[in-house]
């Protein structure tokens, strides 16, 4: 079946199998920034934005994004670069496998709640697992980023 949606600002038409999930569609289409970490909607590595809201693409049927706007980290490159500077400063750089999803989450958080408290950041990010950093450095980096500090 043919599904039409807007991917990172461009209208696309992609042929998918019925029952195909958006994660597989995007990766097969060449968008490799979206990662498969768990196949069970529990790690957050496959996060994309659908109409600006974070969604786990491993459990969203591609057919459902017909006519919607899908964003991956490819559409927020400058913001991701700026966030990465904060990550580097705080020691939050490690394997990077989940980082694109983190960048999308921070982008969405910023839109929803530009001045979150520490607890609000934690609540927002709780679904994005990280086995490398111990989280605190990421939290500090996100806070610095949202605080506009470079």
């Amino acid at each position: 079946m043919l599904v039409k949606f807007n991917l990172n600002g461009l209208d696309v038409e992609i042929n998918v199998k019925p029952g195909e999930y958006l994660l597989d569609t995007l990766r097969n289409y060449g968008v490799k920034s979206v990662k498969k970490g768990c196949d069970g909607s529990s790690c957050g590595a496959c996060t994309v934005l659908v109409d600006d809201k974070p969604v786990l693409s491993c459990s969203l049927l591609t057919a459902k994004v017909e006519g919607h706007k899908v964003m991956t980290v490819e559409s927020i490159q400058d913001e991701a670069a700026a966030l990465s500077e904060c990550f580097s400063r705080e020691g939050a750089d490690q394997c990077g496998f989940c980082n694109a999803a983190f960048a999308l989450m921070v982008h969405a958080l910023k839109k929803e709640n530009p001045h979150p408290t520490d607890e609000e950041i934690k609540d927002y990010m709780v679904g994005n697992l990280c086995r490398c950093t111990g989280y605190q450095s990421q939290q500090k980096a996100i806070k610095a980023f949202l605080g506009g500090k470079k």
Binding site: R89, G91, A103, Q136
Partner: protein
């Protein structure tokens, strides 16, 4: 001791941080060839069984199936998946596919098909006739059990490791210094206790992934999420009967390893499928496979007896250990030995010390390398019983540690006796700031105000616990790293290393070492790592070796390059090399000068053209341990026994922190992984031996909500044998949380929890027993 660093020990962004955040497709599965056959693995439903027959005739006929591998059509060569140097200290007890299956999830067959759906559908058509055998699911009953897990012929050890498969023993080890029984008898106070640790899962977010293809020379090219590309090439070639020159292994970016990617997971299958079909093939583990079909930390039972005088001087430690290696003996002996060799030297004033026991096979998921590698299990037991001893002596637990622990310029006889599966090597602690770490950590925690417990609410109390730890820096006389530096026109350096960045940041750390030694900036250093065709040899990322071993190789190569550049410049300047000064940019001799840019460009295009390149290696003769003191504060609910981490303070001596931000990341990441093992990562098998805790929903790794305030400091320390004074920092962070939490629970409630993880239920049960 050089200290005025410009790049090293300075805030330096990771070389790849930006690109990874921006989502570059550089991980193994991102690089899988289009149209690769999908390899799925048929796995055993039984904990222990013999395959009487496999019928794949219908499955093979299924449209879209390219190839099916079974025990009947793959080479029958024993090997170990462990991913270690050669000869391995692990038994050769694994076949690519075997007549026996030894845990629920063990490999029965591999199906390669055009897509996943087809592979899974075809898999259902494979008929396997099993003779179901009685499994061994209790590791305390494995020794000499009537069920023999490895009854097959053709398995062996590479050198004596105590391998007795007919008794279900993968490895065994005994050592004694002095006379422990006598010293215990003479001691005024003796404490003894037994501790159990669980089969922690690595739970790295990127699953085990590999793919294979043939290149234009018809060589086999394997991309793998491996920590050990060179070992992988050697083991593939040896097991499949290929010459080393026909195989190339590439490690792209890896999304976390923690030891879990040191071994093999699917690489034999994709290699065989590609060789047989001439098509590319790929295998990506599902999350359930990552949990249930790779390998875990070795669960252990550790029994200790410690004897001391009333003044607090510890006389003797006896440590008996039983380790469960599951179905296969990967790292069986070496993890076991680290329980002793990377924990017991902390208390180096003892007159006698004994360590020993067995590593047994069971029908559990295999155990293997995992960050900490025995040290975390040993630390949980030893650092818990040290608190018990302190109580028995009516002594402050920190003071007891201060009296007995390792100091600078001291040694331990254990270093010489215990190595990596073999004898060890003597060493003096050239750098050991442990006393400072303890003192500083105590201040940062405000320990004296908080110890042992304070009431903070109606039914809330806060208690503290402490532990000290050590690790190593590579395996002396075995681990080797190397580095090639090539000068580009324009004066930049192309650095190639076998060292394996698995997310810990070694590409950045090595670049910093090269930049510092060549007095240049990070933008002039380009690094490429871990490709057996293009980069020089390195043993890989394990044993806390990369910064120390590979870092020393990079340092040696950079020094050689500097020497070489000065000679080249001397020719241009018509001066003696000794008279040439080089500041990283310009060479000067008297009033003559030439820039590096001009020299490097000239060597490729104009004068005396030739490529300037150097290669250097390093292998250590010592393994200088990093040290740490850790202090945790936790808040407990006295009604529900639920608890949370309030604060975790660590002060670490890892020598110079080459990259302070990354070093902090290593420590804090380790702490929270260790805290997961201490608190929430319960491993659950059903009565038939099936692992039930095999998803992120059933196996709870810490989320951001469980993390308290982490206070992470480093001691001012300089290891003379390390690159710019550095030691390792990759593993030590994980070691302390189980003991710290266990001690804090004791300080809160007066009960000691002997099984990890420490759950509210276990505290509740212990409280019931206490009453």
């Amino acid at each position: 001791m050089k200290k005025n660093f410009k790049v090293v020990n300075n805030l330096t962004p990771s070389v790849d941080g930006k690109g990874l955040m921006q989502g570059r497709g550089v991980y193994t599965d991102d690089l899988a060839p289009q149209g690769a056959l999908i390899v799925k693995i048929l796995r055993s439903p039984h904990a222990f069984a013999r395959i009487k027959s496999i019928d794949v005739s219908e499955a093979e006929k299924y449209p879209g199936v390219a190839c099916i591998l079974t025990k009947d059509n793959v080479p029958h060569v024993s090997f170990t998946r462990a991913g270690q140097g050669y000869p391995e200290p692990s038994p050769y007890d694994k076949f690519i596919l075997d007549e026996y299956v030894r845990y629920v999830g063990d490999e029965v067959a591999a199906v390669a098909a055009v897509d996943e759906e087809t592979a899974l559908a075809a898999m259902k058509l494979i008929k396997v006739d099993y003779e179901v055998l009685e499994p061994v699911l209790d590791f305390e009953k494995a020794f000499e059990n009537k069920s023999v897990i490895h009854p097959e012929d053709g398995i062996h050890d590479m050198f004596p490791i105590g391998f007795e498969p007919k008794k279900n023993v993968a490895a065994a080890y005994e050592m004694e210094v002095g006379n422990v029984e006598e010293e215990l008898k003479k001691s005024e106070v003796v404490v003894e206790d037994t501790f159990y640790s669980q089969a922690q899962a690595h739970a790295m977010i990127e699953p085990h992934t590999c793919n294979a293809r043939l290149d234009e020379h018809n060589r086999l090219v394997v991309y793998s999420t491996t920590q050990t590309p060179y070992h992988m090439r050697r083991i593939i070639c040896k097991t499949l009967g290929l010459p080393v020159d026909r195989v190339r292994v590439i490690k792209p970016r890896v999304g976390g390893g923690f030891g879990g990617k040191q071994a093999f997971h699917g690489e034999m299958f994709v290699s065989l499928v590609t060789l047989r079909t001439n098509r590319p093939a790929k295998c990506v583990y599902t999350r359930e496979e990552v949990f249930g079909c790779s390998y875990t930390r070795h669960p252990m039972r550790i029994s200790l007896r410690v004897g001391a005088n009333k003044d607090g001087v510890i006389n003797a430690i006896d440590c008996r250990t039983l380790s469960d290696t599951g179905a296969y003996g990967e790292h069986a002996l070496t993890v076991f030995m680290i329980v002793g060799s990377k924990v017991l030297p902390l208390y180096n004033k003892v007159k006698a010390v004994k360590f020993g026991g067995k590593v047994v096979y069971t029908n559990h998921v295999s155990a293997g390398a995992y960050r900490g590698y025995g040290a975390i299990q040993g630390n949980y037991a030893v650092e818990s019983i040290i608190d018990e001893l302190a109580e028995a002596l009516h002594m402050d637990p920190i003071k007891l540690r201060e009296i007995n622990s390792m100091k600078e310029q001291e040694t331990s006889p254990i270093f010489k006796i215990m190595g990596e599966g073999t004898e060890g090597t003597e060493m003096i602690m050239e750098s050991c700031k442990l006393p400072y770490c303890i003192k500083r950590g105590r201040e940062l925690m405000d320990w004296d105000k908080k110890y042992p417990v304070k009431k903070v609410g109606d039914h809330k109390i806060r208690s503290v616990g402490c532990a000290i730890a050590m690790q190593g820096s590579g395996i002396p006389f075995l681990d080797m790293g190397s580095c090639t530096i090539k000068l580009n026109d324009g004066g930049s350096y192309m650095v190639t290393v076998g060292a394996t960045d698995i997310g810990q940041g070694s590409d950045t750390v090595i670049s910093q070492i090269v930049a510092e030694a060549l007095q240049t900036t990070m933008d002039k250093v380009i690094i490429y790592s871990s490709d057996t065709d293009l980069t020089p040899y390195d043993c890989g990322a394990y044993a806390s070796s990369t910064t120390y071993v590979s870092g020393n190789a990079a340092y040696n190569a950079a020094c050689k390059m500097r020497e070489r550049l000065i000679k080249e410049a001397a020719v241009e300047l018509k001066a003696k090399p000794d008279d040439v000064e080089f500041d990283g940019k310009v060479f000067k001799a008297g009033d003559k000068e030439i820039s590096l840019v001009d020299l490097s460009t000239g060597r490729l295009y104009n004068n005396d053209t030739h490529q300037i390149a150097v290669t250097e290696s390093y292998h250590g003769h010592v393994s200088p341990p990093p040290f740490m003191a850790a202090f945790g504060e936790f808040e407990f609910d006295t009604e529900t026994y639920e608890y949370k981490m309030i604060k975790y303070v660590t002060v670490t001596d890892c020598g110079t922190t080459i990259n302070p931000a990354l070093a902090k990341g290593q420590v804090e990441g380790g702490i929270i992984q260790g805290y997961g093992m201490a608190s929430s990562e319960a491993v659950i098998y059903n009565e038939k031996g099936k692992l039930l805790s095999n998803t992120f929903d059933t196996y709870h790794i810490p989320t951001v909500k469980e993390v308290g305030e982490l206070v992470t400091e480093f001691a001012d320390s300089y290891e003379p044998t390390g690159p710019f004074g550095a030691k390792s920092v990759g593993e030590i962070g994980i070691d302390t949380p189980p003991a710290v939490l266990c001690n804090a629970v004791y300080n809160a409630f007066g009960v000691r929890i002997h099984h990890l993880p420490i759950t509210p239920e276990k505290i509740f049960e212990a409280m019931k027993e206490k009453k």
